[in-house]
Every structure is written in C-alpha cells, then in structure tokens.
Assembly symmetry: D2
C-alpha cells in the first residue's frame, strides 16, 4: 500500500449549487498539494480533511452543508484510493432486489411490473409505438414500471434518513418544519450524496470468529473490531470506508427470498461504542455492513432511542451508513483493503440510495 | 496514456450463476497474461477480448450469455483504465430525476412520495415505530415510496430493452415466448449488466461545432465523429466506452423540468452508419450520449424500424447504450479521456439502469 | 312527486364504531316516526334531519362526527327516494378513467398495469399458480396493479379533502397535528362517507342556456339556478342531492383524453353565493357537477382563498361535493328528478371517492 | 314479495359503444312489457331475459358482448327490485381496505400514501398551490396516491378475470392474443360491468349451521343451500343475485388485519355442483359470498383446474362473482331478501371491481 501523506486541511469547499447545477464536477480543490512537511505529526496515518481525532466529524462544514463527512474526499484521497486498483479485480457489493427480497417491515413493498412489452404493444396497437408501415422489422421494446421503497437491498442511508428531538431535526440542524415535504426531505436527499471513491477496509468479524454468520443480536464490540483487524493484518486510515462483515449476506442468495434465515442473523452488528471508536479514533469516513441496519439490535444499555448508532452517525456526525453490502466475495478472496466506489441513485427526495452496486476494486 | 498491449482472447469466461450467486466477483480470468508478442500486429490499439475489426461483437459468447460486449472487460482492461485516474478528479455524469423530469412520452410517470416522516410516525402512533418509553430522544425517520420508470434520467439500456422480429427476440436470441413475463424480461435484465470500468472517450461534437447544443434532428455522421476526435487530438481504442456530446444535457438544469427546450434538442444524435463505425471499426464496447435515446430521430433513410441503431446495438451487437449522461462538466474541463465507471441498479426485471450516476475519473 | 312530511330531528345518531365494525348497517334510527304535526310549519318542502333554513348544516353532529350533512339521511328519506325509481331506468353517472384521462394537474398520475396475465404466468412458471399437473385446462387469470390518485374521474370529495387556517383544520375541527398522517387523513376519509341514497335533482344550466357547454370561467349565479329550475319545472327539496350541469362532461368521450377541450370548459361552475343558496335556502344535502372542481374558477371577488366554495362546503358545512359526474344521459332524457345512489371506495386514508359510478334511477 | 311475471326474451339489446360513450344510459329495452300470458308456463318463478332452465346463461348475447348474464337486467327487473326497498334500510356490504388487509397472496400489495398535505404544501412552497397573497385563509388540501391491486377487499370479478385453454380465452371467446395488453384486458374489463340493481337473496349457511363461521375447506353443497333456504323460508327467483354466507367476513374487523383467522375460514364455499344448481336450476344472475374466492378450496374431485367454479361462472356462463361481501349485518338482521345495488370502479383495464360497497336495501 503506498503511503498517502498529503494534507489538505486548508482547502475551501465550494459546494454551492452542486445539487441542481448541470455541471456536476465533484473535484473539490484543484490547487497544488499543500506541503507535506507536517504530515509526520500524525503517526497513525495521513491526515484527512475535516476529521479530528477524538472528535470525529460533525457539523463543521457550514450551515448549508448537506454532505457531511464525505466532504473529506479530495482529489488526492481519491487518487490514492484508485491506486489500490492495480489488479483490476472488481467485487460487486450489490445484492439483487426483487419483490421477494427481505426488507425491514417498516418500509413499503415493491413490485417491478412490465409496462410495455412486445406482445402488449402489438396487441394494443399502441399509439406511442411506430406504425406498422414504418416498422417492418417489428422492433418493439420492454420497459418496466416500479413501485419501490428507497430503503431496500444494498443501501446507503442519506443524512436526512434519521431525525431526532421534538423539532425533528437531522444532520446540520435541518428541521422537518422547514425542509420536510410530501415528496421526501428537501435537504440531504440522495442527490446530495457525492460519488464515493475512497480506500475501503473490510473487517471480517465472521471469518475471524470462524462462523458462517454471527448469531442474531450479537454485539460486535471495539475489541472484536481490533482483534479482527489484527488477525487480518490491516490498519484503518483516517478517511477510510469501513465495512464490517457479519455473514448475514451469505443467506441473500438469488434475491433475498429466505426471510427467516436472513432475519435470524440480521440483527447482529457493532454497538455505539465500537462505532464511535471507528469514527472518532480511527477516522472512518463512512461505515457499513452486510445487514439491513448496520447496528446491533436491540442496542445494549438503555439508550433513549432504539437506533442510537443511526442517530450518532447520521445526525450527529454526518457519516453515511452502508447497509446490505454483499461482502461474501471479499471474504472469500481475503480482500481486506481495496478502493471503494459507490454512487447512489440521483432521485430527488429519496432518503437513501437503494438497490445499489458499490464496488470494491483491487 | 499508457499503452495496453495485453491480449486475452484465450480466456474462458465462467459466468455460470453470476446473476443470483452471493459471490458476485466480477474478475473473469485470473490466469497469467497471454504473451504480448502478437500485440504488435494490431496497429491502431491494443486487442480486446471478443472484438473483431470490421465485425464488432455479436452473439459470440455462448448461448446462455446475457452480458454481450461487456464480456470484453478483463482485469487487465480495468486495471489500465483505473490508471487514468491519476488526478483523482471525479465527474458525476448523472442527471437528477424528479417528478418534473423530461422523459420519453412512452414511459411511465414518476412520483417520489414520503412514506414515513417524523410527523406522520408521531401522529399515527405508528405501530412499527419504537414506543415512546423507549424513545425519549424522539428519534424517527424518513423513507419514501417511489413509483418510477426504469427508463428515466441517466440510463444504461439493458440488452433486453429492444426486441425484433415476429418472434420478439432480443440479444442472443432470447424470445418473448420463453423469457418474457409479467415482471420484466427474465434474461438480460439490469442485474445482468456487470459493473463497467473502462477507458472512456468523450466526442464533444457540440463544442467542435461551436454551438451550445446541436439543433433537434441533427444527424451526427461518421465524419463528424472523426473531425471532432481529430480536433480533440484523441484516438479511440478498442474496448472504450464512447460518449457523444450533443449539448442537450446543458438544459437539464436542476431536474429536467424545461421539457420544451430539452425536446428541442433531444433528437440529435449519431446515425446507424456512424455508430457502426464506432463499434466495428473503432471497437467501442459501449456507446452513449446526453440525449434520451442516443440515436438521431428520425433515422435517415427508410429503415424498417424507427430505432435502427437501438436494434443494431442492443439486439445484434450486444452493446449497451448510455443515455442522458451529463457531459457538461467533461466538456468544460476538456476532459476527453478518462476512466468510466458505472453500475446499474440491481433490480430484477428492470430493463435498464435508471437515475444513475456514472463517473468519469481522471 | 310524493310529499315527504316526516320530521326526525330528535333522532340520536349512534355512529360509534361505524368505520371499523364488521356490521356496517347504515340504517340510523329505527324507531317510530316522530309526529308529523309540526311539518306544516315548513312551507317549501319536508323537513330534514339537522338542516336549518338560513343556516344549512355545519358542525352540529357531535365532536366525533365524520359524516356531516349526510347524517341527514334516514330510513324515511331513503325509502322516499327509492320510490322515485318506478321505471327502473338507471343512468350511470360515472366517467371512465384511464391513464389518458384529464385531471387537475395537482394530482398524481395514474397507470393500470397488467400484474398477472395468462402469458406471464405460463412463461414465468409462476410459483403462485397451480402446477401443470393440476391444471390440465390451463386456467389462468388476469389481475392488474394500479398506481392511481384518489382525485380522478368521477369523485365525491371527503370532508378531510380541504383544510383551512394556520392549524390546518378540516370539518368538525379535526386538525392536521392530531389526525394527519403519512397514509392519508385519519378522520373523514373515504370509508366515513356513508352510502348515499337520496332524492336527486339535475339543474341543467347548459340546456337552459342552449349551449353544448358553458364557456370556461362562466359564473353560474343563484339567478341561473333559479331560472333553470323554473324552466325545468322542478323544485328542490331539503335533503336533495343537487347536480349542476355545465356540459363539460360531454367532452369526456371514451376516457377523457381530449385534455384541451375539457380544460376549455372545466372552469365553469357555481360561485359561493349560488352554492350558499343551494345549501342554506334550499337544503341541498350534497352538491355536484360535471367538472373537476364544481366551483367556478377563478372565484369572483377577492376571497382569501382560491377555493372559497370548497372550503365553505367541506369545512364549514360538512357537505360533500360530487365532481365529474356524467350528466349527459340525464340531460338527453330530461330526467331532472331521480333517486341518486352513490357509494365510494372503502379505502382507508383516501381523501375522496374516485372513478365512481353514482347512479340516477327513475 | 310481489310476483314478477314479465317476459322480455324478445328484446334486442343495443350495447354498441356503451363503454366509451359519454351517454351511459343503462336502460335497455324501453318498450312496453311483453304480454304476460305465457308466464304461467314457468312454474317456479318469473322468466328472465336470456336465462334457460337447465342451461343457465352462456355465450348467447352476440359475438361482441362483454356483459354476460347481467344483460338479463331490464327496466322491469330493476323496478321490481327497487320496490323491495320499502323500509329504506341500507346495509353496506363493503369491507374496509387498508395496507394491512388480508388478500390472496397472488395479488400485488397496496399502499395509500399522502400525496399532498397542508404541511407539505406549505413547506414545499408548492408551485401548484395558490400563492400566499391569494390564500390568506391558508386553505390547503389532502390527496393521496394509491398503489393498489384490482383484486382486494370487496370485489366483483369481471368476465376477463379468468382464462382457459391453450388459447387463453375468456368469456365469449375473447383471446389473449387479440385482446390482452400491457394495461389490462381490453374486453370485459371493469367498465363493462353495468350497474347492478336486482333482487338479492342471502343464503346464510353459517347461521343455519349454528356456527360463527364455517371451518376452512368446508364444501357447501346443493343440499346445504336448499336446507338453508328452506330454514329461511326464502325462494330464489331467476335473475336474483345470490349471496352465500360462510361467516368469514365477521373476522375482517376494522380492516382485515387478522390474516390468520381470516385464512382459517376463507377456503369454505360452494362447490361446482352447488353453483351449477344456483345458475342452471335457480337462475342466479350473479353469485357471491364473504370469502376471497367464493368457491371452496381445494375443489372436490380432480378437476383439470384449481378453480373449476371460477372458470364455469366467468368463462362459460358469463356470470360475475362477488367476493368478500360483508354479510354480517344482513345475517344479524335476518334480512334474506333485498334489493342489491352495486357499481364497480370505472377504470379501464381493471379486471375486477375492488374496495367496493355494494348495498342491500330493504
């Protein structure tokens, strides 16, 4: 792994208008690299824009910011991550969605339905189709209409997904009374999630524990994460996307139809303390796992919410959460360090990216 | 641009089960590189798996194949493409979708609707929400339900999108009577489109012609493509993703609400001859543009179909089509060569990837 | 017309639980008729439960009431109305809905899509279908999935449709902060609209004015209504459903696809003053017309809302509004008095009945 | 019960264009009643248009007919039925639908979602809403978007619902290859079901058997029907709508959320022999029950289809089927004879009427 030593803490982000503008150029800060002299001060890895050890990220990017910790991405960090792709091996981290797929019961069901078919167009003498005299070759088409939730299959939760407090605020203090709406949240929706190109690390807890998958409700502790990393011989660097494997994804199969088996394992995950260690001590830019909700359920202790880790990550830290990532291929290949590339659907009002295919490249 | 000289025509693909299997490891052929000795024979670029000059691609990958020309992707080709990302600059090629977005009238409309909101959960005393005694912090959530077409905003057409003939067959001879269904085509749907990591080339015809955008119905000819490439100083290499810019995308703005202006330009595009030159002479692995349909409309001549180029690419050649790619940032930056990375929604039965964000990285 | 002389103002409604209970017996008040002695006091028609001349209806039915003026329906009023059906002639007042149908632009679009078809079931080897060995006769089925607005084609607006004031209250003071929700209003939704069986009167303004249809934006005044009734030789009785014909419905044709022509006339309708006359002076139990919104648009004067008549009827008076009723057959047959029978979809959370077929029987 | 003795077998139906025409006047045959002299020949009830004892109905109405047995409705039959409503008592036979409602697993799920709300309109500064300066009273509105199946809650199956044979034909020989389509069947869809106003009879088998509800899979035989009718003291007349009560509807409650209990009883129903007796011997114009599918499941014997009674009624006889009718109120009131009034949603392409409220009036 080549060492990245660039510091870019002085860069000023210019995010104004990035959501709607036709020019969606995500390269922020194109100036010359800041002198690397001071890099030596940080012993456990290169510095990363915005992150502070012991504190993490937070509401530090200006009052209009919708991006959160992903502002830490820079040309330099991306270039360094891309260099990890020397072999050209690509792992598809997406799980296939269908009407049968397991999902959290609180989300809406889904159907993918043929909207136009060659048969239908011909039978209906479809007025939108070319007339027969201009279509001697009988060229027709398939398209589908979907009714679908924005929280299914492989997801990245947007920063508006979770709200807290009597004022229902989310990341950066956006409030429901100002920025809610009938058609999804109007701040921090899916289009606000920039393309993610970063160093990725897999913490394969299930493999370390020599189980196919962790039992349901297993709390993954800080110690578990540390032990697994040591066993893998891998160190997290600030700015990394950190993926934790419980093994639940192995039961997804073709399209997640075996609800019972998935549900039996889906509740394992890191607790708040382990997640804080990842973010505040190790500098995770984003975290994720192979379950529907990342965090262990029920949460240990008696937190004043059922989702303390979601609230911590999304609301307080501005750290996006990856869910239902398919980590089986990485585990089999013992691919613990890679370039993580993910983009979410660019759909206004969606609270999350869904049915995604993040990539791990090495 | 570093020269890629590897030939891998001898590799055997093992695609069996790639669609549904939990291990979605897209690295095909991990053997040692074939001797590069014969590479010198091809003067105008490195060889690429499966492609033949003067012929293109086609139904050459075995009778069960659903992948088409993208089978030409190899570890080596991906590794070479990733090396283009030295600066770490990322261009987001996605256009934002909303209920207002322009689309081809033949597709279904779309709505993104708040399914759960903090207000709603509280007011409804939602039984799926945590009870108040376990939720002192009032942590709630947003999620949305979508009714959406699989052919909107930034798309990659799957190989089942277009059918031809009285038997309604698509790529590789899959027929409606065998592989159609109520819930989308059952061969060559979106999950069958592998992650695309390839060298990308922009042919900025609008910039070459010094116009904001080509007028509607403008035929982009082979000569136009050649002249623009010469003006750019860029050569296509076999295996490239080739994107042609008409300028239509500049009118998308926030979310494609200005239907009239978009429609005024949306019909410009390459004709069949120009597209054949790209595929058969230049070795394009995939083609795309910044319009809703890539090909010029109406097609010149009197073809026996209204969509001769769609039919040629998707049915006959097995070449995927990128549509409504946002090429404005690339044009402004004069970024003509880059690493193209795209993944489509992993949704069974979808005929295309939609509301995507392909990336151009340099 | 036989004279109805029964007064039932003393009856106590027992509506508790009518929404969810399995026994949905809408006969309210089965006791012996109240003495008719005082009926003579009202010269211009029989008395009707709850209505007061000069005042209309209003929030008089108890704080939990969701039914409004339709509480005025009694066994006696229904029995009297049914006696109008001596000929057994039935007029279908519904307009056919399809994806092409005209609608107010503020509502969501609609698609009716084949969800299961004989072809699809067979091709997909559908696991929900009977296995071939038990289905030698190849018996399959059609069903459709709909994405549809609750405000399309022939409608009856529920009392939660319109809200007013900073507290967003609707009929009877139900407030959004208490009774709103993510899944439709939770008071006065469609299931709360009881079956309507009442004397109906058509006021055929277009026929009286000798036009195919009133021009757009035509204000129908009290005088217009009075003149038309005199021309018809018909008198309204308290408790009647009053339908006003503009002629707009004649342009609906097969399924309302001629948006332009419909829109050219759709804005004609009664103003607030004419509507008040119907309700407060004449005792209309419900009003309706053959346009998308009943009331004239724009409203005359400078009301502090764009929909003063909707607000008056739904919020203040608790009077339901019938929209897009097909009155063409009644007009042709000069059927001005009839038994009106309408039931709305029993769908929780729907704000209106939609795609209905009210009947006029004589 | 007054005896109806009219014969109208000579009437010629003129149904041409009834589906799309603006004039939807369902009174067929307005001539003077045919002489009643020959009526005496039929001992067990009045004659009814089209029906033949021992044969039932069938494909007798002409090759374009989409209406089936309901063509038997005439002004006279409706007028006679309406005379049963002397008390003005109305029983609402609809069951309330919500996202939680029990349904046959083969149909698509449903969601009713707030599309516009006062909060949302205000927060979004909704461009379709009136501007604040014209809306001092803050008048806003609720509307909902629905994703819903055409086969839920209280239904009337259309004649295109069931197909049979290798050619997938339905009633009157309409074939899938001619009249199928992507947007529902194009013959015999919901708009083709005329308003139903007919004498109705309840056969309360559960009450006769002194059970709350028949156990699952109970076969209701011809003898059961005859015994129950004798116990009730009621005789069916040709042209009647016959409703059979199993008691399953009593478990629907608020909105059919108790799937298990409903499923435990939902499979009871008449078998094919009992249904043939109703149609061929007794002259039932339409049959129905309080279960999701009317007929007993599994069917006795070894029929060459899982739905022999559906196929018999819909395909062969052209007799519509009422499902999930709420018969609890009728049972409690011992109301065995009444005027049945039902209209289905007028939605093109819908294979059934759904979430209906048929009425029983006496």
């Amino acid at each position: 792994m080549s060492r990245r030593t660039t510091i870019r803490t002085l860069l000023i982000l210019s995010l104004s208008g990035f959501l709607g503008g036709a020019a969606s150029f995500w390269t922020m800060g194109r100036g010359s690299p800041v002198a690397a002299a001071s890099a030596g001060a940080i012993q456990d890895g290169p510095a990363v824009k915005g992150w502070q050890k012991g504190k993490g990220w937070g509401w530090i990017w200006g009052k209009d910011d919708e991006v959160g910790a992903l502002n830490g991405l820079t040309d330099q960090s991306r270039a360094a991550a891309l260099k990890l792709g020397t072999r050209g091996e690509v792992f598809d981290l997406g799980l296939t969605y269908s009407r049968r797929s397991y999902k959290w019961p609180g989300h809406s069901p889904g159907e993918i339905i043929t909207f136009r078919s060659p048969d239908g167009i011909r039978r209906m003498q479809d007025p939108d189709a070319p007339p027969p005299e201009k279509n001697g070759d009988q060229v027709f088409w398939h398209s589908a209409a979907l009714f679908i939730s924005d929280n299914v299959a492989t997801q990245i939760d947007g920063l508006a997904h979770i709200t807290a407090g009597a004022d229902d605020h989310w990341y950066n203090g956006f409030k429901e009374s100002d920025w809610g709406g009938d058609w999804g949240p109007r701040k921090c929706d899916a289009p606000s999630i920039p393309p993610i190109v970063a160093r990725g690390v897999l913490i394969d807890v299930a493999a370390f524990k020599k189980v196919d998958a962790l039992p349901g409700h297993t709390v993954i502790t800080t110690q578990d994460l540390q032990d697994t990393l040591a066993w893998e011989g891998v160190a997290i660097q600030p700015g990394d996307v950190v993926l934790v494997r419980t093994g639940t994804g192995r039961f997804w199969g073709e399209d997640g139809a075996d609800h019972k088996t998935i549900a039996d394992h889906d509740s394992a995950g890191p607790d708040l303390a382990a997640t804080r260690w990842l973010v505040e001590d190790q500098g995770a830019l984003m975290v994720g796992s192979d379950t529907s909700g990342y965090e262990v359920n029920p949460p240990p202790g008696n937190p004043a919410t059922g989702f303390p880790t979601h609230r911590y990550l999304l609301v307080d830290q501005g750290v996006h959460i990856g869910e239902f990532h398919n980590l089986e291929g990485l585990s089999t290949a013992r691919a613990y360090v890679f370039c993580y590339v993910a983009t979410v659907n660019k759909i206004k009002g969606a609270a999350a990216g869904f049915a995604l295919r993040p990539l791990a490249i090495r």
